[in-house]
Amino acid sequence: MKKVLFIDYNRCIGCETCQSICEFIHRDKPFIKIFQTSTGLSIPITCHHCENAPCLNICPTKAIYKDEDDAVIINTEKCIGCYMCLAVCPFGIPSFDIRIGAMNKCDMCADRRKRSLAPACSEMCPCVAIFFGEPQALEQTIKAKIAEELA
């Protein structure tokens, strides 16, 4: 079943919880990162697990695939480190991991999903800025939240 990880930039306060948690579980290499813009805004940047993922389409060794939840995953065994995925990613996501000698990125917390846990960043964000779930349910939640706030 397709799952999405959606970040609502309007709710984010730049507290860095998502990045801190991701760094904790991935030992010093967070896949979600907060960037401070020149105007002083904090923007979390992470993989969008695109439906029509340019990285997956361009990869010469077919190292990138979608798992059962439609998360876009890099098979680091097959990756030759050519950087093509980074070149085409609209968010500049894939990152060369010197420890494994391959491109790596957010896998939507694959290990956690196997244990029926949601991605750690979405569970810990204090501001409910990171949504995770099946597209329709998620969109429903967001709309209901907005209705609540308008009332």
Partner: protein, 350 residues
């Protein structure tokens, strides 16, 4: 927030008991880690509810109260975490003034005897206040004390009558960081008629960023850049006005930083009811006497690789170790400390 994000169900008990002093993000994330490793956790906090500054400092429009409450409810209901609220841990010293919510005082030494390990995660709660003529007048407030009271009222612990009345009042906020912005937004929502914000550099250097300051300006906040308070003028013990020295910026130094330089004889005076200082938090170690826990020159608790202090079995995490930071940094520090505690208690078994 799922503080126990590492697991879903309560694991087999380890038969180890840990006390956490301070239920802010650091204490709560450490708790989450520890319960996922089977430990029994008791949290002590002088406030009536867990959350630390997330609940009692940061405004509701940033962090929803319900999100913090749900997070602790899970720790309590699924993992059996015991919260001892309104309980201040004292370290030999006399109780402070103003611990208005505290019902019970527990000696640190007693706590150590009852638990296998103790984590100090007490944060930094003292605001920096300048030495300035008129600084002791009624109406000069630290930002955190105002935001704290507003949150106490929103959470239902005190009545709105106890909040500094802001309706139709003029407020001067000193500082241009996130806390200054928070104060401005709260003052707006509580009906202040005029809000000034003073900063010694320009909007381009404002720590809250150009975007946030511009947002406030568009909502009617009067932005006074390149100005520094020189004295506060009073009347019958109350604030009446503030005098600001006009400045210009120096040439960038070798780090590219530009400093405000006073322009001779250029002052402005603004009539106001309140002056709110939002220029940062001070480190406040929870103990005044020597309890064998070493501090660095800034007053931060020194910890080793396991996050243990200089005293065996006593750990520390969060802003009391790293200095005033952010929710995320405090959370991560709490997790590393919990990992250290678990390793120290369980060794290779962990």
């Amino acid at each position: 927030m799922r503080f126990a994000f590492l697991c879903r169900d309560k694991p087999e008990p380890s038969n180890r008991k840990i006390a956490i002093i301070g239920a802010g993000p650091a204490g709560l994330s450490a708790t989450g880690y520890l319960v996922c490793h089977g430990h029994e956790v008791h949290i002590f906090d002088k406030l009536p509810e867990p959350g630390g500054l997330m609940l009692f400092g940061i405004p509701e429009f940033r962090i929803p109260i319900s999100r913090v409450r749900e997070g602790f409810a899970e720790l309590r209901d699924i993992f059996g975490v015991k919260f001892h609220g309104r309980t201040k841990i004292v370290f030999g010293n006399k109780p402070d003034e103003g611990d208005s919510f505290v019902d019970e005082f527990i000696e640190f030494d007693k706590l150590i005897k009852d638990f296998d390990a103790v984590l100090i995660a007490t944060g930094t709660w003292k605001s920096i206040m300048p030495k300035i003529e008129g600084g002791d007048l009624k109406g000069v407030l630290p930002a955190l004390s105002l935001l704290f009271k507003i949150k106490c009222a929103r959470l239902g612990y005190i009545s709105w009558d106890n909040i500094t009345p802001l309706k139709e009042k003029t407020v001067v906020i000193i500082g241009a960081g996130h806390t200054a912005v928070d104060v401005a937004i709260e003052c707006m929502s509580l009906g202040a008629s005029k809000i000034y914000m003073c900063y010694r550099r320009t909007i381009l250097e404002a720590p809250a960023g150009y975007h946030e300051i511009n947002f406030l300006k568009n909502r009617g906040v009067i932005w006074y850049e390149l100005s520094m308070p020189t004295r506060i003028i009073g009347e019958n013990g109350n604030v009446k006005a503030i005098e600001l020295q006009q400045c210009k910026l120096s040439k960038p130094d070798k780090n590219g930083r530009r400093y405000p330089i006073p322009i001779e004889n250029q002052f402005v005076t603004i009539d106001t009811n309140y002056i709110i200082y939002a220029i940062g938090q001070k480190l406040t170690p929870p103990f005044q006497q020597d309890i064998d826990v070493k501090l660095d020159d800034w007053g931060r608790i020194i910890v080793d690789d396991l996050h243990m202090t200089s005293r065996e079995g006593i750990f520390a995490a969060g802003d009391i170790v790293i200095g005033p930071s952010k929710v995320g940094r405090a959370i991560q520090d709490g997790l590393y400390a919990a990992e250290g505690i678990n390793y120290w208690l369980m060794g290779e078994q962990s």
